[in-house]
Amino acid sequence: MRSKIHHLINFLNQYTRFPVIEKRFEEDHSFRNAKAVVPFFYYFIFFIAVLKLLELRHFPLRGNFTPRWPIFWANYVDLQIVLTIVLVFFAFASLVAAFFYYRRAGRVIAFLGIFQYHALLSSFGSPHHQMDLWLWVAFLLIFLPNIWNEKNKSLEEQKKFSLVFWSAQAFVLLTYSMSGIGKILGAITQYFNGEVHIFALNAAALHVTSQLNAMQSTTLLGPLITKYPLFGWFPLVAIIYLQFFAFLIAFRPSLHRIWALGLVFFHVGTFLAMDAEFFHAIPLLLILFFNSPFGRLNPSWRQIALDLPIFGWIFASIFKRSKKNYLFEIKDVI
């Protein structure tokens, strides 16, 4: 029994070694950059919370109010009072975290504020996913080591700090990959059902038309894609590529910035094409990835090309014929 546990531990150790990204965790500038970026997460959360105070005037009620478990106390209080408490607490909690981001207690309070607000939004029928990413990132950042004071910094603590920051990045990218996986699974199902699937040339046009009909709205790019479906086909395939492989990019720091840029274009594009707004994710992409602590501001284009999913594997096999040394080993890809 003991040897089986030992084998399991060895197996897990083998598949939880991520040499490329973990080398970055050991670098001092990665830790310093991560430490510099974290406060901006809380500054922006406070900005969102302050804007949400405008909802005190008119909260968007989307259905019957059935409190989710985090706001179980709302069952005993008038709805208007619940709205006031949650919105004001959200603003207060995020202000505390914006000021005391270097204290775990501050980060915990921010999480509680976001959680209460998120639960409130989700208590009117269907869950509201706009704030999902902020909620879970706020949860993960609670576990940052308290080494804001340089005196407390050991290499182990520094690596843990970078690891927790990276976990926030990985989580955000995981959600995009889950969306990409859903699209691939949907495509497989629809293909074998003889239906139009997401890789069909008119798939984007069908999505756009259906969404605009449902929303009873029109968009800047909607009519163009509906009339000329091919205009939407390539962006849609690019979106599937961006989403499906997003989680892999967490392990490839050279692609952090460019992948986040692609995802920002994705969010803006889907709004301009089909009135599907998910803008709350954009600031998170900017904060966590545009100045990723683990990337380089100017990585070599060859490194980027070799790190690309699928294309990188093709390029690497081509380079292998002419060069003995890779920029990285294939086995270090994951």
Binding site: P127, Y176, G182, H207
Partner: protein
Amino acid sequence: MSYKLLKKIIIFFLILYFLIGLFARYAKNENEMEDIYPFFSWFLFNKVPQPQVYEE
């Protein structure tokens, strides 16, 4: 907590989130809304609306 243990916990959390999201998506009947709060499958726009749907 050591770095190695923290890493394993984080990986476990990511896998758990993924699995619960899948469970939320597929454990429900088609008529039930996917909902294991606060988890989510992120299966948005995963099926293409068929032409006869919007022509009606």
